[in-house]
Structure formats: structure tokens, C-alpha cells
């Protein structure tokens, strides 16, 4: 069987309630290898709740999320044992936070931030780890003479690039990103987006990107889901959703921006 004809992730009727409030409700979709899915909507629409439920950072109230492990078997993410969950978190997945401080260790060097993920999967050879870390810093356009500096000394854009290197160094198959360009200056955003676009396509990564910025969705994603009040109101090919939006809420979102 050709694996690219099999989804990587199968989400069925996923819901999360905060007491009587809806976080997200009845979300179903499948994600294939190499596919980038953007989840868009304004703040409070449930994007991050959904992302956290998918990434097992938050327990859903109902529904199922199945992931195809490297052995080809689908496993219910909420029935994994601790070792399997650790493997996903440390190796097979990445999670890029909006605020780099949430995804980095701010008081260890840039090189160690990248090397740490390698050590977690059993690499013990200092020279190899440093060489791989240097290579990855280069790929995210951080000069090699900054390898021993702490991210505290980095600009926002550099921190975010470091966070990306830290996540990608283990060759994950799936990366979750929560507003990866949020909080950055526009010019810095453009550079980061371009870098992400290149990395995601070169590595053939599957990714789920939460963003309220439709230009980010346009540039990075193949497919889009539009969320409002915890529900998916529209889904489809990214350029189709943006150029010929069908749902009233999507039309409102698209018309509220200058041009994407």
C-alpha cells in the first residue's frame, strides 16, 4: 500500500467544552502526509482549543483523533501509553508556539536548544550533535557564531527561527503551529514565512497551522478550515476558499482585509 494514499491523522467529531461554553464542536477531517492545513478564524473562534486537542495538550470532551504511527498502525491518541506519547512529542511531532519563550529554554544556548531534542532521541555523540545543531541554525539563517548565545539575546524573529530549528531537527512527520508569525514585525514575518514555506515543502512535512492572518494561510497552506464560535463553517482548497468564499462568515473575513 502506498502510504501517501493513507491519511496521517483522522479526526472524528472532536468536541471540547469548557463547562457549558463551546471550545470546539464536532470537528472532523483527515490530514495526509505532506499536506499543510490552515485553521483560520478570529480570536476566540476555537482555533487554539482545537489545535491543543489534536496535539494531546488538552483532553477533548468527545470524539476521536487517530494517528498513523511509523509502523503504519493507526492509534487513538488518547489511548497511547506513556512511551508512545513521549515518542510523538519528542520525535515524530513538532509544536511551534506563538511565543518562542514557550517553546525554547531561554537560559541554555541556541546550540543546546537544538541539541536537546537530538539527545532526547538517544544521540549521545557531542560532535555529531553540535554539527547537526550548526547545520540547522544555518538552515534557519542563524549565523554559526551565535551557537553559544542564549535565545534571551536574540531578536523575536531569530527566536522564532530557533524554535523552528529545535522542532525540525528530529525529522518530525507532523508539525503543529500556533500563530507562528504572530507578534513579529511585518518584514520579519515575510522572511519567516518564506523560510517556513521552503522547509515544509523540502521536507515534505504535514502541518496544521493556526492563524488569524489570511495571507499566512494563502502562502503556507494547501487547504483551509474556517472556524467560527467553535464550529467549522467552511473548508476547502486554500485559494478557492479565499477567492470564492461561500459561507457568510468567510466572506466577512476575506472582505475585511486589504488584499491577500
Amino acid at each position: 500500500m502506498n502510504m501517501s494514499d493513507t491519511p496521517l491523522l483522522k479526526v472524528k467529531d472532536l468536541s471540547k467544552f469548557y463547562g457549558s461554553r463551546i471550545g470546539c464542536q464536532n470537528v472532523s477531517f483527515e490530514l495526509w502526509p505532506g499536506e499543510v492545513l490552515a485553521i483560520v478564524g478570529e480570536s476566540g473562534s476555537g482555533k487554539t482549543t482545537l489545535l491543543n486537542c489534536l496535539a494531546t495538550r488538552l483532553a477533548p470532551s468527545a470524539g476521536s483523533v487517530e494517528y498513523r504511527m511509523r509502523d503504519g498502525q493507526f492509534r487513538d491518541l488518547y489511548r497511547l501509553n506513556e512511551a508512545e506519547r513521549r515518542f510523538l512529542m519528542r520525535t515524530d511531532w513538532g509544536f511551534v508556539h506563538q511565543n518562542p519563550a514557550d517553546g525554547l529554554r531561554m537560559t541554555v544556548s541556541a546550540g543546546a536548544n537544538v541539541g536537546e531534542r537530538l539527545m532526547a532521541i538517544g544521540d549521545r555523540h557531542y560532535g555529531n550533535i553540535r554539527a547537526t545543531a550548526t547545520d540547522w541554525l544555518g538552515r534557519v539563517e542563524i549565523a554559526s557564531d551565535r551557537i553559544d548565545d542564549q535565545p534571551r539575546a536574540f531578536s523575536g524573529g531569530m527566536r522564532q527561527r530557533l524554535q523552528i530549528a529545535r522542532n525540525l531537527v528530529t525529522n518530525p512527520r507532523l508539525v503543529f503551529m500556533d500563530e507562528p508569525t504572530g507578534g513579529l514585525d511585518v518584514s520579519v514575518q515575510a522572511r519567516l514565512l518564506d523560510l517556513l514555506r521552503g522547509l515544509v515543502s523540502d521536507l515534505g512535512l504535514a502541518a496544521i497551522v493556526v492563524t488569524h492572518d489570511l495571507a499566512v494561510a494563502r502562502l503556507l497552506s494547501h487547504r483551509m478550515m474556517v472556524m467560527k464560535d467553535g464550529h467549522i463553517v467552511e473548508t476547502g482548497l486554500t485559494d478557492r476558499v479565499l477567492d470564492d468564499p461561500q459561507a457568510p462568515y468567510t466572506q466577512l473575513l476575506v472582505s475585511s482585509i486589504l488584499q491577500v
Partner: protein
């Protein structure tokens, strides 16, 4: 060989939810097919729905009704109802598109913009760039521009990047939305001869050309879009 493109009974309207949900009918009963090596041209006044038809064939606009059938691998795909993954696969392997305007991506050079469709099909980057360079040279785009992102290019320069990008692959179907609109006479001639070569190579083309000379030179057949106007329904 199956017909490369069959459009049958397609209808399209826009519902403007922000304007009290008014419905803007564009076209209905759109039916035509295009043979390999044929260049059909959509004719009709501005606003008749020519670009909308091209965009539906590319999967960029939703289709209200009808079918758009393209052979893909050993099956036939209906683009009007295909899922996003299938549409992306059909675009990668079957349909090239030269849009009216180039959508630029920051920091990507003109050469890479042109080479990208080949790279996406697994062709080696160096080889793809060589082919891109040959096309840009043929279209007289000054070599000093090749390494720059096209965002700052003139309309005609951007259009030539767009044309090179659309023509670089050997997609069996090519959609052309006014590819010569902002070109001078010399470059229009280049595009006309590029279209002729595509015909000889058996490519099925569907285009929009406002320039009468170009249309005369390339069209095998005019499809009159006013025939698809929606009857008895005020916009």
C-alpha cells in the same frame, strides 16, 4: 486517448452574503470540450464570465452545478466535485494556468518562480532553472532581473514571468487568461509562437485574448460566452 477537457452543463453564480444575500448569476448551461492540440478561445464582453469559467476549470472557483471532466492517471476526475488533494494533483500533473495577474511571493526570485512547477513535479532544481532561464530569455526578460523577486517588476515583465511559469511544464491542458494584455508587439509575437508550439505538441488550450490579432493567430474556435448568459434572472 480521452478528450483532455469536457465541461458539461456548468452553472455559476455568486451569493453576496454581506449585501443582503443578493445572488449574482454569471453563467449557466456551459458546455464545451477541447481536443488535444486545439486552442479554443472564450469570447464575449467584459463581465460575461470568461475568467470565471477558466477559474472553475482550474478549481479556483466553486461550481454550482455541472461537471468538469479531466482524465487523470487511469481515471476521469470531475473537478467540480473533487476534493482539494485531487485538485492539487490535477494542477500539478494536468493543468497549467497563466493568470491575468502574477501573485508574487516575497523573496523568491523570478527564475525560481518560473522553475517551481517543474520542481514540484520532481525535476532536479538545476535542470528546472536551466529551462526557466531559456524561457525567460526567449521572452526577452533582461537577465539582470532573473535573480530578483518579481514584486517590483513592471506589468509586462511580471506577465512574462507568469507566461514562462505556465509554459514551462508539458501539462496536457493549458489555461490562458489574457497572457498578452500588457505585452509589446515583439513579445506578443513570441507568445503566439509559443502557443503554436504547444498546439503541435498536442496540448489542449482554453484562452481569453482581447487582442484581435493574437486571437486571429491562435484561435481554432471561439466559444461565445454570451450564449451561457443566465436567462430571465436580473442580477
Amino acid at each position: 486517448m480521452p478528450t483532455p477537457l469536457v465541461v458539461s452543463d456548468v452553472a455559476k453564480s455568486f451569493t453576496m452574503h454581506l449585501r443582503d444575500g443578493i445572488r449574482l448569476p454569471v453563467v449557466a448551461n456551459v458546455s464545451f470540450s477541447i481536443k488535444a492540440g486545439e486552442c479554443a478561445v472564450l469570447g464575449g464582453p467584459s463581465g460575461a464570465g470568461k475568467s470565471s469559467i477558466l477559474k472553475m476549470v482550474y478549481g479556483n472557483y466553486a461550481v454550482d452545478q455541472g461537471q468538469i471532466i479531466v482524465p487523470y492517471g487511469d481515471r476521469l476526475v470531475d473537478l467540480a466535485s473533487a476534493d482539494p488533494r485531487t485538485v492539487l494533483g490535477v494542477r500539478r500533473d494536468m493543468i497549467g494556468y497563466v493568470s491575468q495577474f502574477l501573485r508574487t511571493v516575497p523573496r523568491v526570485s523570478a527564475l525560481d518562480v518560473v522553475a517551481e512547477p517543474l520542481v514540484a513535479r520532481g525535476i532536479d532544481r538545476t535542470e528546472a532553472r536551466d529551462k526557466a532561464a531559456a524561457l525567460l530569455a526567449g521572452l526577452n526578460l533582461p537577465e539582470r532581473l532573473w535573480s530578483l523577486p518579481p514584486a517590483t517588476f513592471s506589468g509586462g515583465e511580471q506577465q512574462r514571468v507568469n507566461i514562462a511559469r505556465g509554459f514551462i511544464t508539458d501539462h496536457p491542458i493549458l489555461l490562458l487568461d489574457e497572457p498578452t494584455a500588457s505585452l509589446d508587439a515583439k513579445n506578443r509575437e513570441v507568445v503566439v509562437s509559443m502557443i503554436r508550439s504547444k498546439k503541435e505538441a498536442g496540448i489542449a488550450m482554453l484562452g481569453i485574448f482581447h487582442d484581435e490579432d493574437v486571437r486571429e493567430a491562435v484561435a481554432d474556435r471561439i466559444i461565445d460566452v454570451t450564449a451561457f448568459a443566465v436567462q430571465g434572472e436580473a442580477a
